[in-house]
């Protein structure tokens, strides 16, 4: 690609989501057609812009061209259907509505269109993987190839997922509208799930692998930030953005050069990206300022913020973290959260307090066979000076995990505890 083409490609990336979103509304939520029309517009741009230069408002140019294509399609359809009077009548009715829609659309807020698109691509009737692929395609503007590389699947599989998702949406007759009231909360959690999934895929990627995977974090962050501006009164959106910004701030400190993970308390905090931490704290503040009962993302962000604010592990505000876990345990009770809470309590009130809680938890059927229970117990026992007991627990934890790397680490810690 020469410089002009690359420049044009960059403009496409910027304009893509809003273009597809605006077109999707014309064609009553038919994402497949919307995408085709958008692609047509891009092809036209590639023909014209190298000569005429990139227009001052590329988005408007692309939208106009795509609209014209849409109308041409309808005309063509009209002429064909004149041969079939019954169909022709139905077509005319539909064309009138479409023409009205195009009129309306001219005045409507672009933000709403983008929101409609996001809610559509994250519709809960689609499978999780379909939602992710479709959203990255129509909202993120990633090519099928990029999506395939990011999730380490063959390109045809990625393409199929997207095609099937669009088909499922079209067949479902789901309205292309931004949900309201109670429905908004439900549908929003589906959207946040998609965004956080993409982030975690990028976050979990080991350094030195294909750069596409860590770049997923940036894609997710961007999606989250866009959502925060589109839905500024939704605290959970700010919560998710805060959580992602803060987690992303640790990217460099989280692994050794060879890819070995570094636990939170051993990370060099001077290498945490302070820009991202600042952004995370601002997002957290925005979410908290909205009041109401904090949701799980906002609470988790609050916990992440406590760590981010601590210059050293010793500076950590453990009491605040315990309070947040208390709320989290009420909002989204889960054994893992209870375990994390026990760890926080051990730091706020001493390992004996933590041990008391874990001993209770160990009886829960949900935690039977969960390797982190003995691992956490071992940590408390070690801090209480009960080294032999700690070692036994670490060995038990090692026997319970199915992850080889994890088992190796636990056995290593067990051997070290001997002394």
């Amino acid at each position: 690609m020469d410089e002009t083409q690359r420049r044009i490609a960059a403009v496409f990336r910027i304009e893509w989501a809003r273009l597809v979103a605006g077109l999707a509304r014309f064609v009553r939520g038919d994402l497949g057609t919307a995408e085709e029309l958008a692609q047509d517009a891009l092809v036209a741009a590639l023909e014209v812009w190298p000569q005429d230069g990139i227009p001052r408002e590329p988005g408007a140019w692309l939208m106009q061209v795509a609209k014209n294509r849409a109308l041409t399609r309808i005309d063509r359809q009209k002429r064909w259907d004149k041969k079939e009077p019954a169909i022709a009548q139905a077509m005319e009715d539909r064309q009138e509505r479409t023409a009205d829609a195009i009129e309306e659309a001219a005045d409507d807020d672009v933000g709403d269109d983008l929101l409609r698109l996001i809610f559509a691509s994250c519709h809960p009737l689609l499978s999780a993987e379909s939602r992710v692929a479709l959203t990255l395609r129509v909202v993120g503007g990633l090519t099928t190839e990029e999506i395939a590389r990011a999730f380490v699947i063959p390109e045809p599989t990625a393409a199929q997922r997207i095609v099937r998702a669009k088909k499922a949406l079209a067949e479902s007759g789901a309205a292309f509208e931004v949900p309201r009231g109670k429905e908004l909360a439900e549908r929003l959690s589906s959207v946040l799930e998609v965004v956080y999934f993409v982030f975690n895929e990028g976050y979990a990627a080991t350094a030195g692998g294909d750069w596409m995977r860590p770049a997923l974090c940036e894609d997710a962050l961007r999606l989250g930030r866009i959502l925060a501006e589109l839905l500024p009164s939704e605290a959970e959106v700010h919560g998710l953005v805060a959580l992602m910004e803060i987690q992303a701030s640790r990217t460099v400190a989280r692994t050794l050069p060879d890819g070995t993970p570094v636990p939170l308390f051993e990370q060099n905090r001077a290498r945490w990206d302070r820009f991202l931490i600042e952004r995370g704290l601002v997002a957290l503040q925005r979410g908290e300022a909205l009041g109401g009962t904090p949701g799980p993302h906002l609470l988790q962000a609050g916990i992440a913020a406590c760590h981010a604010r601590a210059r050293t592990p010793e500076d950590t505000d453990w009491r605040h973290i315990v309070a947040l876990y208390d709320q989290l345990a009420t909002t989204t009770p889960s054994p893992v959260i209870e375990l994390n809470r026990a760890v926080a309590i051990s730091f706020a009130h001493g390992p004996a307090a933590g041990l008391a809680i874990v001993d209770e938890l160990a009886n829960l059927p949900a935690l039977a066979g969960y390797h982190l229970v003995p691992a956490v117990r071992a940590d408390f026992l070690s801090r209480l000076g009960r080294k032999a007991d700690a070692r036994a627990e670490l060995e038990r934890a090692a026997s319970l995990t199915r992850n080889d790397r994890e088992r190796a680490l636990l056995l290593k810690r067990a051997a070290a505890t001997q002394n």
């Binding site: 940036e218 961007r222 989250g224 290498r271 210059r311």
Partner: protein, 154 residues
């Protein structure tokens, strides 16, 4: 990747020289320009691209420092009347490519004659080739940590 955009005022033409003068008096830009700038910044924020950005006050409030032998420094207070060009603002963008950065910046509503420079920021990983074990970066990070602690005390 992150890019810093450095916006400068210059004395190249009569038009830009007038703008330069106005800037150095500390006067804010005309309302119209200001409104367009805010709208543009909003677009950057809505796209999730703007990471940071500030305007710089006139040079009369600043200083220039030169480093001599043995760490000796000499300071000159502003205004820097002999300067033909001054940095007036910066922003930091997080984008997927250099082309994207250029595409975004080319949309900014700057007046005729405005000059700016884009530079990509180093990330920690860039230093890997000269610092394979990460020792130097560790050391650098510890120094930064110290500097932050001192800053926090003051």
């Amino acid at each position: 990747m992150k890019f810093i955009v450095l916006v400068t005022a210059n004395k190249d033409t009569a038009l830009t020289a007038a703008e330069f003068e106005r800037y150095e008096t500390g006067a804010l830009p005309p309302c119209e320009e200001f409104v367009k700038m805010i709208a543009y910044q909003e677009e950057l924020v809505k796209a999730g691209v703007l990471v940071a950005g500030e305007g710089l006050r006139p040079s009369s409030l600043g200083a220039r420092m030169t480093f001599g032998k043995d760490g000796k420094t000499s300071t000159k207070d502003g205004p820097f009347t002999e300067s033909k060009e001054l940095i007036v603002g910066f922003s930091i963008l997080q984008v997927k490519s250099r082309d994207e950065a250029l595409a975004w910046v080319s949309r900014a509503p700057f007046p005729e004659g405005t000059k700016l420079e884009l530079r990509q920021l180093f990330t920690d990983d860039d230093f890997a080739s000269v610092d394979p074990t990460g020792e130097l970066r560790e050391h650098d990070a510890k120094l930064r940590e110290q500097a932050e602690k001192q800053h926090a005390k003051s």
